[in-house]
C-alpha cells in the first residue's frame, strides 16, 4: 500500500467509527486483525471488538474524532487525535488518544491504542 492508500484507510476507519458503521469497520479490518489497548493490556480479536462497539457508546449521544494528525510508514500509520464526546446529559468531554496501526492489502491487521483512563470520569462528566 502506498502512503495515500494508507492515509485513506485510516480516515475511512475513523469516519466509520464516528458514524457507527460497524459493517464498514468489519470490511476495513482483516479477519485476523488484533486490537490491543493499553488500558486492558491484552489483545482482542476483530469480532470481540466490534461486538462491544454498542457498549462503548453507553451514556453518549455523539462522538467525533477530531484534530487528526496522521503519519504513515511502510506498513501502517500513527494517528494522534482528540476524541470529542457529547453525553446524554449534555456534558461535553475530550480525550487525547494515539493509535499505531499496521496495514496490509487494504486492511488493518493490528491496532494498538493508547489512552489515559484517569481522564474517563471527567470525559463522561463525572467527578474528577
Amino acid at each position: 500500500m502506498d502512503e495515500y492508500e494508507i492515509r485513506e484507510l485510516c480516515n475511512d476507519f475513523f469516519d466509520a467509527y464516528q458514524d457507527g458503521r460497524v459493517d464498514v469497520l468489519r470490511r476495513l479490518m482483516a479477519d485476523d486483525c488484533i486490537i490491543w489497548h493499553n488500558v486492558f493490556g491484552r489483545e482482542t480479536t476483530r469480532d470481540e471488538n466490534l461486538e462491544k462497539y454498542p457498549d462503548s457508546y453507553q451514556g453518549q449521544r455523539r462522538r467525533t474524532y477530531n484534530d487528526r494528525i496522521i503519519n504513515t510508514f511502510d506498513d501502517g500509520f500513527v494517528i494522534q487525535y482528540t476524541l470529542n464526546g457529547v453525553m446524554k446529559t449534555g456534558h461535553k468531554g475530550a480525550l487525547w488518544i494515539c493509535i499505531v496501526a499496521r496495514c496490509k492489502d487494504g486492511k488493518l491487521t493490528r491496532i494498538d491504542e493508547y489512552m489515559d483512563t484517569s481522564k474517563f470520569a471527567a470525559w463522561m462528566g463525572g467527578p474528577r
Binding site: N38, V39, N71, G76, I97, C98, V100, Y114, T117, S118
Partner: protein, 135 residues
Amino acid sequence: MNKDWQTLELCDRFFDAIEQKDYDTLESCYAPEAVIWHSHDGLYQPRADNLAMLKKGMEKQTKTRFKDRRVRAFEGGFVQQHTIYVTREDGFEGHMEVCFVGYVRDGMISRAYEYFDTGQIEKFIGPRPAKEASR
C-alpha cells in the same frame, strides 16, 4: 531511505542515553526549541523542564529500561512503542506501556508527544503510602 536510517538512529540514541544515564547525549538529542507534550495534562513541557525531570530520574532511579521497542520512521519523525521498566531505590520495579511520537528537525527531536495511562500509575510508581493514597 537514508533519512529513515538517521531518524531511527536518533530514536535509539535518545532512549539508550536515558538507559545509560548519559545526560550529555540525551541533551544533544533535543533541538533548542524542543517541547514535550504528555497525555496526562495535555501541556507542552519546555525543553529545560523536561531535561531537569529526566536528569532527576537518572539520579534517583537505580535502573531504567525500555523493552519491547517497536519503532517506525515516517516523514519528519518516528513513533516508538515500548514498555518502560524502572527500578526504584526501594527495589520496586515499575512498568508502563508508552507510545512516544517524535518530530525531528535537523537530526534532533523538536517536538514529542508521550501517551501513557496514569490510571495505572501504581504499576509504575508502586503502591502509595496509605496516608497519601487517602488524600
